[in-house]
């Protein structure tokens, strides 16, 4: 079973994502900001990270840059999931090492399509 860390400061979004990911047979863990996510990854590297952009304490993009520096930090497939929907943000995410990018609002079909594109399912 593959694991996915859900990183979002909204409890509702985490819940929705968790439900979809469970249906796709993922084991999930949650973090409320980039710092918590980084700690979680240092403790145990997930196979995938579903990542919000704007969060308190540490943003998604800062988390991603730090993650890629960690030992084993190249392993997780990182899929952004954010309301930021302009080319500049998307470009910046890809440059920082994101594998895919979901623009909110999203549904299970989009999440599934994106995860299958990057070979997670």
């Amino acid at each position: 079973m593959k694991s996915c860390l859900i990183v979002d400061d909204s409890k509702v979004i985490r819940m929705v994502a968790k439900k979809i990911l469970h249906e796709l047979s993922f084991q999930t863990a949650e973090a409320e900001d980039g710092r918590q996510a980084l700690d979680a990854c240092a403790a145990s590297m997930p196979d995938a990270v579903l990542l919000d952009w704007n969060m308190p304490v540490m943003s998604g993009i800062d988390f991603l840059r730090e993650l890629r520096k960690l030992p084993g930090g190249a392993h997780p497939v990182v899929v952004f999931c954010t309301t930021e929907n302009d080319i500049e943000h998307i470009q910046e995410a890809i440059t920082a090492g994101a594998n895919e990018y979901i623009m909110k609002p999203f549904d299970s079909e989009i999440l599934q399509a994106k995860f299958s594109q990057v070979g997670l399912i």
Binding site: I87, I90, I110, Q117
Partner: protein, 284 residues
Amino acid sequence: MLKPEDFDFLAKLLKERSGLVITPDKAYLLESRLMPVARTHNLKSLEEIIARMRGRDEMLARTVTEAMTTNESFFFRDTKPFDQFRDVVLPLMLKNRAARKSVRIWSAACSSGQEAYSLAMILKEQSAKLAGWHFEIVGTDISQEMLEKAKAGLYSQFEVQRGLPIQLLVKYFKKKDESWQIDPGLRSMVQFREFNLLHDLKGLGQFDVVFCRNVLIYFDQPTKSRVLESISKIMPDDGVLYLGGAETVLGISDRFKPMPEQRGIYCVTRGGSGTGFPLGGAGR
């Protein structure tokens, strides 16, 4: 619930105009697809639509046919056929067309154009290998509304997230208000034309590769055979046909045979018997 004579009238009209077969178990589709049409025409019910069409309202009959035959379309739908196009079909064409250096591709029943544009993106990504080659992609559909959308190349945020890898979105689309528009360079690679698959296909010219996916499923058996037969006549002997995952030629047409080890792809055969198609008749 529609009266049987109304249902039959509508079913017959749709069958004649588009080949679409509506069986009573699909009657719910009539409601969901046609009530929006009724509203835009200030009609209250399906019965009123049918009454108007019985009075030979050509425009309304057209709109109704379009509404019933419009289908969902995704970029790189089902992924695999496009990988096969890049890895199997394209190399085959490059080999077989080395002298002529031109390939024509048809996206039949192209809806809002995602399939045609997906192919254009693959070709663009491979452009280093394709210098000096001419590729023509033609998308056809019976829905004027879908064709307008396809030509504009304008898609909603939802549509660009179904099947389209983010790298390709960034590379080939520009944001326009809340939508995304495909790059003019790609738009110029594809022509969109109004065309009914049930009509004489000869006017379209000959196609080396035909994508006719998830179209035949809506037709009855004789119509499937007829459409496959006429498609085969506008393809060269080494032409390649794509059908949808739930479709096949087996038991329907002897004009095509499955390509070995390539699910969903079919090769032209000229070995069929008794229907008068001369061997190698479409050869050039």
